[in-house]
């Protein structure tokens, strides 16, 4: 077992060794280092070939055409491109967007920017189980709505939204649908022939690929339209300028290839480990699952431990790498906006820990984690004046 135990796969994943090897072959003088845009010599052309192959690998994982993949520096950039790009393209048609309260900051912040620029945004509330009500979404659509942006899988609680139903609705209404799939690619089967989405954001480092690389799926039939956000070259058919990082892109392609082959088996194994973790924590009292297990990705478990503060719990769990709140906001002491949106009070929102398992998680690690969590929770509850009070009340009522 490697200490500390890594249970933060939703924050990022280590690059798969097979992917790392492929990346390395596209870096140095002995490798494929050319600029893919240099058509005039073999250095550029071989790099372009590698990029084409990767494009096809990503497309294959979502049943799209390679030409529908636009390379970006990550899902954050893909989200910015989709949201600002579509809003900008249709600015004469309307200035209203619909999204949810539980989106990642990489969606919420671009929306906030658009509000500054005079747009109107409706933020839908999820139900306590984390799922959005599709009828409510329909009710929020207006004549001037130009984009709906809903995440596929939530990064904090792992809940999978009903994108199929949402996409049927938006197609009927002729409104572009963008889906942040950063947490779903490689974990949940995605088929853009049956999911009628217009734009989808992907991130390599969530599926054992390198950080700093992502993609935006841009549907061709019907053609999704957007304004480029980064100018300076003709790369990606004018949708996103900048020299393509061959090695990063190859990494993403390879990661997608492996994900396609191993997703089903990985999921089964990971789900069993996650369920083992959850059942191992059941005997701790005042423990609350955030989200729901029936409609969620295999590897994620978000649990609140009442009468304990998240930061103290994280510190007491120093031999486990987990997170409280999402990775991007870990410097911020505010309780998670996602947990608040599903109805958790401040105290429970603050005492939540997200465990996220992955390809390299072992059963020994899970069993060790269970022991560590028990130890930490008991220790901190012994310290808490609220727990003391709670126990006194329980004793007074004769509760064991």
């Amino acid at each position: 077992m490697k200490h500390p135990i890594y249970l933060d796969y939703a924050a990022t994943t280590p690059v798969d060794p097979r992917v790392a090897e492929a990346i390395y072959r596209h870096l140095t003088q002995d490798g494929i280092f050319g600029n893919p845009a240099s058509q005039s010599h073999v250095f550029g052309r071989s790099a372009a070939q590698a990029v084409d192959k990767a494009r096809a690998q990503v497309a294959a994982l979502i049943n799209a055409a390679p030409a529908e993949i636009v390379w970006t520096s990550g899902a954050t950039e893909a989200n910015n491109l989709a949201i600002k790009g579509v809003a900008g393209y249709y600015r004469k048609k309307g200035r209203h967007l619909v999204t949810s309260k539980i989106e990642h900051k990489a969606v919420l912040d671009p929306c906030r920017q658009l509000v500054q620029a005079g747009y109107d945004v409706t933020y839908l509330d999820p139900k306590p189980n984390g799922l959005l009500d599709v009828a409510e979404l329909e009710g929020a659509l207006r004549q001037d709505t130009v984009l709906v942006s809903i995440m596929h899988v939530n990064n904090e609680i792992g809940v999978i939204q009903d994108i199929a139903s949402i996409s049927q609705l938006t197609r009927r209404r002729g409104i572009p649908l963008h889906v942040d799939a950063a947490q779903s690619l490689g974990k949940v089967a995605i088929d853009v022939q049956s999911l009628d989405v217009d734009l989808m954001s992907f991130s390599a480092h969530k599926l054992y690929g390198p950080k700093g690389c992502g993609a935006l799926y841009v549907r061709r039939k019907p053609q999704a339209r957007l304004l480029a956000q980064i100018h300076g070259g003709e790369q990606e058919r004018g949708m996103r300028a900048g020299t393509l990082p061959t090695h990063q892109i190859v990494g993403m392609g390879e990661a997608c290839q492996w994900a396609g082959q191993e997703m089903a088996a990985d999921n089964e194994r990971i789900r069993r480990l996650r369920d083992r973790l959850w059942s191992g924590l059941q005997d701790i009292s005042e423990v609350y699952l955030n989200g729901n297990l029936s409609q969620s990705v295999a590897g994620l478990l978000n649990v609140s431990f009442d009468f304990i503060e998240g930061e103290a719990l994280l510190a007491a769990l120093k031999d486990l790498a987990v997170s409280s709140g999402s990775a991007c906001t870990s410097a911020n002491p505010e309780p998670s906006h996602v947990l608040k949106a599903i109805g958790r009070n401040d105290r429970l929102a603050r005492s939540a820990i997200r465990f996220s398992l992955g390809r390299f998680t072992t059963v020994e690690e899970i069993d060790y984690a269970i022991v560590q969590v028990h130890r930490a929770v008991n220790r901190l509850r012994e310290l808490s004046p609220f727990w003391e009070k709670q126990q006194m009340i329980r004793n007074a009522h004769g509760i064991a």
Partner: protein, 137 residues
């Protein structure tokens, strides 16, 4: 957030966790809270007839600093005369633990807890004169 070794030591092995029955006449109790961070500190002192803090105990709910503070504070209070304890200032607490600036409110809370615990003890003393004696050098 990265905390000093001092803070981490107290957090990992806190001293003086626990309490006394609140109704004892030689015990002063305080429970203070900061709404912003949700940190709560319960401090209790057991005081001798001569006005010396014989024992101090704490319970805390919150992040790493408040727990570390409870431990450090109760250690510091042990054996102190009430007058000396009353003089404690949040800056000296913050310095002693190298508290990061964003967590200084915990030191303020600790100072409040000491003063409140002392005040609680004093208010319990039926003989007002002797209580005052204990406060002055």
């Amino acid at each position: 957030m990265l905390y000093s070794d001092e803070i981490m030591q107290h957090f990992e092995n806190p001293h003086n966790v626990g309490g006394f029955p609140e109704n004892l006449s030689d015990v002063g109790t305080a429970m203070v809270e900061t709404p912003i961070s949700g940190d709560v500190l319960k401090l209790q002192i057991k005081v001798s007839k001569q006005g010396l803090i014989e024992e101090a105990k704490f319970k805390a709910h919150g992040g790493v600093p408040i727990i570390a503070l409870g431990s450090w504070l109760t250690q510091w209070l042990n054996g102190k005369h009430l007058a000396e304890a009353e003089d404690i200032h949040n800056t000296q607490i913050a310095e002693a633990l190298a508290l990061p600036p964003v967590k200084v409110h915990c030191a303020v809370l600790a100072e409040q807890a000491v003063k409140a615990a002392i005040a609680d003890y004093v208010s319990k003393q039926t003989d007002g004169a002797s209580a005052e004696e204990n406060l002055c050098f």
